[in-house]
C-alpha cells in the first residue's frame, strides 16, 4: 500500500472475565499485544477466542477486567466512534443478503469518518480506492456482494475494514470458509499489510498450521483461560495441544519455514505401511490411544521412565523411536544423517537429535555429542543400524559408555545379524562382540526393546 498507515496501536487485555448469563466464557484472561505485532488466537471451539474479540471491540461487555487500546480503556474512556476510527474488525460471517455493490460495501468502512449530513468527501473516496487496490477488488467494484465467490467476498470485507483506516485490525476466522489457495491469498495479504504498513493484526484462527506459518506470536485459549502464549514453536507443543484439545497430535516442522506443523492422529485408524516414510505407526497408536499392553507396566508407577539414548540411522530405527516415545521414555537420538527417515521420525516426535549433514560421515564432534547424550541417559539402545567406516566410531562410544556402567542393549545384536550389516571390514562385529562381553544384551525386536526399557526404569 502506498500510504503510510497510521501509527499502529497496541492492545492490552487485563484480567478479562466475560459471561453469557451465568456461564463464564472467559475467566481472568490477560494478554498484551505490542503495536505492529501479528498475533494469533487459537484454541478449540468454545474456548473463548471470539468472545475475547467481542469484548475487545465493545460488542460484549465484560463482567470484569479491562481492555486497553494504547493505554486507553475502551469501555470507560473511549466512545464507539473513537473506537471505530482506530479499530476495524473482519467478522466470521458477513451478511450478503442486501444488494450492496462491492464499492458501496467498502465505502461503508468510512462510516465512522463521514459526517451525517455531509456525505463522503474526496479523501474518503481516495481511501476507499486505495483499500480496494491493495486487496485487488477494484475490478469487482460494480458487482453485487452476494454474487461473489468466497475468496473475492472475503477480500472485499477486508477492503472495507482497511477503508476504516484502522490502527488495529481484528479478524475472526477470516479463512474458515475458503479453499486452500484463497486461505493463503488472504493471509499473504495480511502479512504484507503487517510487514509493510506495520498494522497490528490480531487473528482468530482455527487452523493451527496457518497460525504457525503466519503469526509472530500465538495465544492458546482453552476453556476460557489462557493456556499458553509465545512463539508458535513454544505454544504448539504436543503437551499444550493435548491439554487444550484433548486429542493426541504429532508436531513436526514445516519443510520450508521450519515453523511447527500439527498432524492429527486418529483414534481408530490403523497406521499404513509406508516403507521409508516415517508415519505414526501401530505402536504409537496403541500407546496413544491407551489400547496397548503397557510397555512399562509395573515400572512406571514406582519410578519415572528411563532416559534412553538410541543409536539410530539408515532408516533402521524409526519404529523403535516411535514405540519408545509413545511409551513416554525420555529419548535422545543420534547421530543420524539429516533427511534420513530416522531423523524425520525423531523430529516429528520432538526428540533431541545429534544430526550430521546428509550422506556425510559422522565426524568427531558428532560422536562427542552422542557420547555426551549417552552419558546423561540411563541406558543406551543400539538399533539395527548398518555400520560403515563413516559411523562405526559411534559403536566405540557405546562401548565406552558400557564400560562406564551404562546399560546397553542391541536390537538384533547377534553375530550373524551384525555381520550382515557390517560394512566396516569387521570393525562393527568386533565392537559388538566386545559390547556383549561387557554386559550388553541383545533384543529381538520392538516389544523386547520396550520390555527392556521398562526394566531400565525399575533399575534406576
Amino acid at each position: 500500500m502506498s500510504t503510510p498507515g497510521r501509527r499502529p496501536a497496541g492492545l492490552e487485555i487485563n484480567q478479562l472475565t466475560v459471561a453469557y448469563g451465568d456461564r463464564r466464557v472467559l475467566e481472568g484472561v490477560s494478554l498484551t499485544i505490542a503495536p505492529g505485532e501479528f498475533v494469533g488466537l487459537v484454541g478449540p471451539n468454545a474456548s473463548g477466542k471470539s468472545t475475547l474479540l467481542k469484548a475487545a471491540t465493545r460488542v460484549l461487555r465484560p463482567v470484569s477486567g479491562r481492555v486497553l487500546l494504547d493505554g486507553q480503556d475502551v469501555w470507560r474512556e473511549m466512545s464507539l466512534g473513537e473506537m471505530a476510527r482506530s479499530v476495524a474488525v473482519v467478522p466470521q460471517d458477513f451478511p450478503v443478503d442486501f444488494p450492496f455493490t462491492v464499492r458501496e460495501t467498502v465505502l461503508m468502512g468510512r462510516t465512522p469518518f463521514v459526517g451525517r449530513l455531509r456525505g463522503e468527501q474526496p479523501a474518503d473516496l481516495a481511501r476507499v480506492r486505495q483499500a480496494m487496490e491493495s486487496t485487488e477488488t477494484l475490478d469487482l467494484s460494480d458487482r453485487l456482494i452476494g454474487e461473489l465467490a468466497g475468496g473475492e467476498r472475503q477480500r472485499v470485507v477486508l477492503a472495507k475494514a482497511l477503508a476504516q483506516d484502522p490502527r488495529l485490525l481484528l479478524l475472526d476466522e477470516p479463512t474458515s470458509h475458503l479453499d486452500l489457495s484463497h486461505q493463503v491469498d488472504i493471509l499473504d495479504l495480511l502479512l504484507g499489510l503487517n510487514r509493510e504498513v506495520g498494522l497490528t493484526l490480531v487473528i482468530v484462527l482455527h487452523d493451527l498450521n496457518l497460525a504457525a506459518m503466519y503469526c509472530d506470536r500465538l495465544f492458546l485459549l482453552g476453556g476460557g483461560r489462557l493456556a499458553a502464549e509465545g512463539s508458535p514453536a513454544d505454544v504448539l507443543t504436543p503437551a499444550n495441544l493435548q491439554a487444550v484439545y484433548g486429542s493426541r497430535v504429532l508436531v513436526g516442522r514445516h519443510p520450508i519455514y521450519g515453523c511447527p506443523q500439527v498432524t492429527l492422529v486418529s483414534r481408530r485408524r490403523p497406521a499404513a505401511d509406508q516403507g521409508d516414510v516415517p508415519v505414526a505407526g501401530e505402536a504409537f497408536l496403541r500407546a496413544a490411544t491407551g489400547a496397548a499392553e503397557a510397555p512399562d507396566a509395573g515400572g512406571r508407577g514406582k519410578s519415572a521412565p528411563a532416559r534412553i539414548h538410541v543409536v539410530a540411522g539408515g532408516g533402521s530405527s524409526a519404529g523403535l523411536l516411535e514405540c519408545l516415545a509413545a511409551a513416554g521414555y525420555g529419548l535422545t537420538v543420534g547421530p543420524v544423517n539429516a533427511g534420513d527417515s530416522d531423523w524425520h521420525m525423531a523430529r516429528t516426535l520432538g526428540v533431541e537429535t545429534v544430526t550430521v549433514p546428509p550422506f556425510s560421515a559422522v565426524d568427531r564432534e558428532a560422536v562427542a555429542k552422542a557420547a555426551a547424550a549417552m552419558g546423561s541417559s540411563d541406558a543406551v539402545l543400539v538399533g539395527p543400524v548398518p555400520f560403515g567406516r563413516g559411523n562405526v566410531a559411534v559403536l566405540e562410544a557405546v562401548l565406552k559408555a558400557a564400560r562406564a556402567g551404562r546399560q546397553v542393549a542391541l536390537v538384533n545384536g547377534g553375530p550373524e545379524e551384525v555381520a550382515s550389516r557390517d560394512f566396516a571390514e569387521g570393525r562393527a562385529s568386533a565392537l559388538t562382540a566386545e559390547l556383549l562381553a561387557a554386559g550388553a544384551t541383545t533384543l529381538s525386536g520392538e516389544s523386547e526393546a520396550l520390555a527392556w526399557a521398562a526394566r531400565m526404569g525399575e533399575k534406576r
Binding site: 460488542v59 458477513f94 453485487l144 452476494g146
Partner: protein, 362 residues
Amino acid sequence: MAGESGTQRRTGRASTRRAGRGVALAVLGAALGAGGLLAVAVGSVPLPVGEVARILAHALPWVGAGVRPDWSASHEVIVLAIRLPRVLLAAVVGAALGVAGGAFQGLFRNPMADPYVIGVSSGAALGASLAIAFRPAIGLAGLGAVPVAAFAGAILTVLAVYSIARVGREVPVGNLLLSGIALGSLLSALVSVVIIYSRTSLDQIVFWLMGSLAGRGWTHLGVAVPYLVVGSAVLLYLARDLNALLLGEEEAAHLGVAVDRTKKIILAAASLLTAAAVATCGIVGFVGLVVPHIVRLVTGPDHRTLLPVSALGGALLLVTADLLARTAVRPAELPVGVVTALIGAPFFLYLLRRSRRGGGIL
C-alpha cells in the same frame, strides 16, 4: 456462486447500474407534481388543469397577487377546501408509509417487514373499530373519536410489543417481530369480536380497515403533518446508521453506531410516523411494503437514497391510488388500500421477474 458462468456475471453487472439519487428524486418529484395537479383537477366536477394551477398559484403568498381570479367561487372551494387537502394528505401519508416501510425493512433486515410489522395497524384497528362501534363522545384537536382512538391504540400496542420483546437493556429484533405478530393476531381477533357484536357498524369498520381518504380535510392534515415531518426527518438523519445496521448489529457497532440507542430511536420514529398515518386514513396496505422494494431495485439499498426516494414514491403511489379510488367506480368510492394493492402488486411483480436478484431477499 463460485461456479456461475461469465454471462450471468455480466448480467449481474449490468443490473447494478443504478439510477442516481438526484435523477430519481427529480423524476419522481416532477411526476408527483403533475399527478397532484391532475388529482386536484379530476373529480365529479371536472376542472381544467390550467384553472386549477391558477387557483393554486393565487392561494400562494407573494406569487398569488399576480394571478387575477377569473374562476367561479365554487371552483375555488372545490380546489382549496375539498380536493387539495385530500391530495396533500395522500402525498404526506404515502411518503410516511414509504419511509417507515424502508426503515422497518432495514432495521429488521427482513424483506417482509412493513410499517405495520410491530402491531401498529392492529392496535389502531382495535381503537378505531371500538370508536366506530360505540361512538364515544371524545375528540381532540378538532378530530373525531375514530382517529384519536386509532392513534391511541397504535401507540399502546407498540409500547406493549416493545416491553414484551425487551430483554434487559436490549431489544432483539427477532423478539420484536414475533411479539408484534403475536400481539397483532390477538388484537385482530378482538377487532372481529367488535365487528360481530356491532353489526350496524360493519360497513364502516371494514371500510376503515381497508384505508380511505374520503372526507379528510385540512384538520386531519394539520394534526398528522407534524408527526409525519418529524418522524421522516429523524429517519433520514439516521439513514447512515441504518446502512450499517443492514450489515448486522455487531458490524454496525464496529462502525461506531450506538446500536441499542439507534434502534430505539428508529423504532420510535417509524412507529409514530405510522401511527399518525393510520390514524388519519386507516390501514392503507401495500405502500409501505412495496415502495421501498421497488426503490431498492432501482437505486440500491443505501438508505440515504432509499428513504427520500421512497418518500416521493410512496406519495406518488398514494396520490395516484386515491385519484383512482375516487374516480374509477363513480359515484361510489373504492377503499384506497384496495387500489394501492391493485396497481402496486402487478408493477412489483413485473420488476421482481425482470430483476436478476429478484429471487434473493430484497
